[in-house]
Subunit: 390 residues, 3 copies
C-alpha cells in the first residue's frame, strides 16, 4: 500500500532544479547581456526577418499570354507585307514561353533536289575526289552526292542532296526587319496557388477593371500592377537595347515573384515583376549567339511537287518564370525555433559558469558552491556534511 | 601528479543537477499537465500529422498526353467536315499542356492586300484626313494606308494594308462548333521521381493491365486510378459547364498530387487527381475572357501568291500540373524536433517555478528552498550555513 | 527603497544550477560516451554531410536547345528525301522539351470525303444495319455514314466520313526510317539562378571557349562539361538501344543537376548531367507503347480543295529537366540545429540519472543526494535539515 502512495507522490511530485543565485555584478551583467542578445536575435531576426515561425509552400502557377501589334515591312524579296500575331508569334497558343519574331532570312521555293553547298573551308573542292558520297557535314545543309560542281564563276563546292536552293544566312538584315516589334504589347495572365494553404490568386488584381486594363501599360512607378507589358520596355528594364537584340535574338526572362506572407490579409499578396536577359551575351564563348531557329511553310505547286519556304527566324523568346514561397504561421516551426533558442539560452549559464570558475578571484569557493563532489568510496552522509558544513 | 589525477576525475566525473522535489498536489498537477500537453503535441501533431521526423523532396515529373475522338460538323462555309486529333489538338505533340479546339471562326482566302478596317470607334472615318498613313491601332488588324474607303453602303472606315479580307470575330458561333468535344478522352501518362530518395513511379499503377486500360474511364468512385479522362467529366468536376466553356474557351488545371510518405511501402504512393478552372471567370475585369488564339494555314494559289486561312481558335487548354512532396525518415529533422520539444519541456519547470514562487501562500519558503543566494561580500561557508541551517 | 534594491539585485543576479559531481567511473564513462556520440553526430552528420547549417533555395532555370544533322532517306512513296532540322525537330523553337522524328508513317493526299474504315472487330460489317449513322468509334478514324462498303475483295467495313484515304498504321517501318538520327547532336544552353542568394550561372562554363565548343561532344570521362550531346550517346547512357527505341519512340530525360554548396567559390558549382528513359517500357500494361503523335501538312490542290499529308510521327522526346538545391550558411538553421543538439545533450544527464538511480547498488543514497523531497505538511526548515543532516 505504501508503495502505491509513493507512486502517486511521484506522479504529482514536481521537480525543479536547485539554483544558486550569485550577486556578482560582473558575471550578472554578462549573463543578462548574453540573454538579451539571444532573445533579441530570436525576436528580431528569427521572427521578424526570417519569419521562422511560418510553414512554407512553393507556388503552383498557370500562365497565358497574348501579344498585340502589327508591322509593315517592305523588302525586295517579299514586297510590302504586314505581319500580324499569327505570323510572328511562335508558338501561337500563348503559352508561358512565347517567341516574337524580330528578324527573318527567308528562302522561298525550296524543293528536294541537288545543288552546290554554301562555300566554306570543308565544302570547297577541286574535283569529285574531294567530295564523299553520303557524307553529311555537321554544319552542312544536306547529304553529299560525291560530285564537285560550280557554285559561282570562281568557286566550286561539293554538291548536296537537300532542300534546294540552300539558305545563305551569312548576311543578317540590319536593322532588324521587325525591329518595330518593340512597340508590341503582351497581356500576361497568371494564376497561382499555394495548395498547402488553399490560397489562390491571379495577377489581375481586384482593383483592376476592364477600362483600366484597356488603356494601361506596365510601368514600375505609375502602373506597377498592370499586366500589359510593352516588349521594348521589358528589354530596356533588362538592361538591353531592343534594336541590337532584335538583330540576332535572345531570351528575356519575365520574373513574377509571388513571395507572400499569408498571415497578412490576402490583398497584401501582390506579384512583383522583374526582367532580365537569360541567354549568353558573353563575347568569349559565343557559339550560336542570340536565339534563332528555322521553320518552314510547306506548299504543293501546280505539278504536286512539295516546295517550302524556309524561314530562319531570329527573335526574342520571353520566358515567364513564376516563383515564390508563401509562409503562414504554423506551430511546428515555431516550437522548433523557440525550443532551439531556449536550448541556446542554457548555453548562457554554461558560459557564465566557465567565466566565473576561471576568471574570478574566489573561483574555488564558487566551484564548491556549485558543484557537490561525491567519490565512490564516500558515504552519502559525508558528502553533504563535507560540502555544506565545511 | 595530483593535478593529472584531478583531470582524469574531471573526465569521468558525471554531473547532474541537484533537484528539489515538491509534493504539492496543485503545482504537481499543473507540472504533469503541461508535460503531458507537450509530449502529446510532439507525439500526435509533430510526429503523426506533420511527420516532422521526415526529410522531404520535391517531385520531378514528365508528362505525355494523347487525345482520342472525332467530330463531324456541318457549316455553311466549310460544309461537312470531320475533325480528327491532328486538327483540333494544338500543339499536336501531346505535351503536358494541350489545347482542344471547341469553337472556330475561320477566315479563308486571306492575301496580303488592302481592305477597309472592321468598323469601331477609332476606325470609322469621314475622309482621308481622318486616317493616318502608317498608323497601327492596338486593336486593329493592319497598317493604315491613309485612305478612307467604303466598308458597307453606309459606313466608311480607314483602309489598311493587311491580310485581307479581315477577320470579323464579333459573332461567335453558338452553340460551340465542336461542343461535342466533351466526349473526347485523353490518356495522361505521368512519370515522377524523387531524386533524393531514388524513388520512381508512374501513374499507370502495377495493377492496371492493358485490358483494363482499353475500356476504363476515370471516375472518382469506380475507377480512381484509370489515367484516361473524359474531357467533359474533368470540366464538370472543375465546377464548370462544358457547353458554356466551349463557347469562349478557358483553362482547366489537371492537378496530380503525388504527396507520399515513403516510410510506407511503395504501393501506398498513388496519385490523386483533381481539376479546377485556372483562368478568369470573374465578370468584373473580363478583358480577353476565356482562352483563344489565332493561327493560320498557309497555301500558295495557282499564281504562286501566298494565301492563308486564318483561324481564331477558341478552346480549352488543359494544363497538367504535377506537384507533391515525399517524406522519408531522416535523423536530422527528428533530432531537431525532438530537441526542440525537450527544450520546451524545460519551460514547464520555469512556469511551475513562477506559479509556486508567486501564487502559493508559503512562497518565501519555496524561494529559499530553490534559490541559494550568495552576495559578493559573503564568505562561501556562510552562504551554505545561512541557507541550510537557518 | 529596500525593494528596489532587491529588484536591481534580481536584474544582476546570475542564476546557475547547483550540480552534483559523482566520481563513479562506470556512469562517468557512459556519460562521456553519450556526450561524445551526440557531439560527433552534430559535427559529422548534421554539419558535414547534411549541411544543416545552410539555408536552401530551389533552382530557377531557362533552357534552349539546338539540334544539328541531316539524313537522307529513300522510300518507295517519297523517293529520295533529305530531312533537315526544320522537318524532323518538333516544335522547331528549341525549347526544353524537343522531339526528334525517328520513324514516319505518311498518308499523303487526304481529303474530306467518305471511305471504308480500317478493318477491326468493331468496324467489320455484313450489311448497312451493322453500321450506325453518326457513331464514332473511340479507336476509329471518322464518323460513320451508316453504310457498309467493300474495303477489299473479301472484307466489308462501315463507311466513314473522314480525311480519306485513311491511315493504315499497322505496319511500322523497320528498321526505323530515320534511325541514323542517333548521330545528330544537340547543343543545350541552360541558365540557372538561385534568387535567394542572387546567384546566376550557365552550363557554358568559363573555361569553355568557342573553339572547344565547335569540336567537342559530351563524354562523361573526357568532356564532362561540353554541352553538346550526341543523341545516340544519351540513349545509350539511359540504358536503351537507339535502333530499338527509334522504331516506336519514347521519352528520354536529360537531367541537369545543379546541387551546389555556395559557401564554396562559384567555380565549384558545376552541372552534372544524367540521362534516363522516362516512359513506359514495361511490357505488362503497354497501352500506347513508345511515343508518337500525328500532325498534318495542309495544301490546296488545283481545284482549291484542301488536301493534307497526315504524318504519324514516332520519335524520341527529350525532356531537359533541371533540378537542384543551393545551400548557403545562414544563422537560423545553424541555431536551430545547434539548439536541438544542446537540448539532446540534456537527455544524457537524464539517461545517466536513470542508470544510476536504478542500476547502481547504492542507488538510494544517490536518490537522496540528487533529490530533495518536500511534502506539503513539512516546514521548510525541516526539509533542509532532513536532507542534509540525516
Amino acid at each position: 500500500f505504501s508503495e502505491s502512495v509513493i507512486c502517486l507522490q511521484c506522479l504529482f511530485g514536481y521537480e525543479t532544479n536547485v539554483m544558486l543565485v550569485i550577486n556578482n555584478k560582473g558575471v550578472g551583467a554578462l549573463f543578462r547581456l548574453i540573454q538579451f542578445l539571444i532573445i533579441a536575435y530570436v525576436a528580431v531576426y528569427v521572427c521578424w526577418i526570417q519569419r521562422a515561425y511560418q510553414d512554407t509552400d512553393s507556388v503552383i502557377s498557370s500562365v497565358s499570354t497574348k501579344v498585340k501589334g502589327n508591322i509593315l515591312t517592305n523588302t525586295s524579296i517579299e514586297g510590302v507585307h504586314v505581319w500580324d500575331v499569327p505570323e510572328y508569334v511562335i508558338p501561337p497558343q500563348g503559352e508561358k514561353s512565347f517567341f516574337v519574331l524580330t528578324n527573318v532570312i527567308p528562302t522561298p521555293g525550296q524543293t528536294q533536289s541537288k545543288c552546290p553547298e554554301i562555300p566554306s573551308l570543308v565544302t570547297k573542292c577541286e574535283s569529285d575526289s574531294d567530295c564523299i558520297e553520303g557524307q553529311t557535314e555537321v554544319h552542312g545543309n544536306g547529304v553529299q552526292t560525291g560530285h564537285c560542281v560550280q557554285y559561282s564563276d570562281t568557286i566550286k563546292t561539293c554538291e548536296v542532296q537537300a532542300w534546294c536552293p540552300l539558305e545563305n544566312d551569312t548576311i543578317i538584315p540590319k536593322p532588324a526587319l521587325l525591329g518595330a516589334a518593340e512597340h508590341f504589347t503582351v497581356l500576361i495572365k497568371n494564376n497561382i496557388q499555394y495548395p498547402k494553404f488553399n490560397f489562390r490568386k491571379r495577377n489581375l488584381l481586384h482593383h483592376i477593371n476592364s477600362t483600366y486594363l484597356k488603356n494601361c501599360t506596365f510601368d514600375r512607378k505609375t502602373d506597377p500592377h498592370c499586366p500589359i507589358f510593352r516588349l521594348g520596355h521589358m528589354v530596356t528594364e533588362a538592361g538591353e537595347d531592343f534594336s541590337v537584340m532584335a538583330l540576332k535574338g535572345g531570351i528575356i526572362g519575365i520574373f513574377i515573384d509571388w513571395n507572400c506572407d499569408l498571415d497578412f490579409p490576402e490583398r497584401f499578396c501582390i506579384p512583383k515583376y522583374s526582367f532580365s536577359r537569360l541567354d549568353n551575351k558573353n563575347p568569349e564563348n559565343n557559339v550560336a549567339p542570340g536565339y534563332n531557329f528555322r521553320f518552314a511553310k510547306y506548299y504543293k505547286n501546280n505539278k504536286s511537287i512539295e516546295t517550302r519556304t524556309l524561314i530562319k527566324a531570329f527573335g526574342i523568346r520571353f520566358d515567364v518564370i513564376v516563383f515564390g514561397m508563401a509562409g503562414k504561421f504554423n506551430i511546428v516551426p515555431t516550437i522548433v525555433n523557440l525550443g532551439a533558442a531556449l536550448a541556446c539560452l542554457s548555453l548562457v549559464t554554461a558560459i557564465c559558469d566557465w567565466v566565473m570558475l576561471t576568471c574570478m578571484k574566489d573561483h574555488d569557493q564558487y566551484q564548491k558552491c556549485i558543484k557537490i563532489i561525491k567519490n565512490d568510496s564516500q558515504d552519502i552522509h559525508n558528502v553533504t556534511k563535507d560540502f555544506y558544513l565545511k
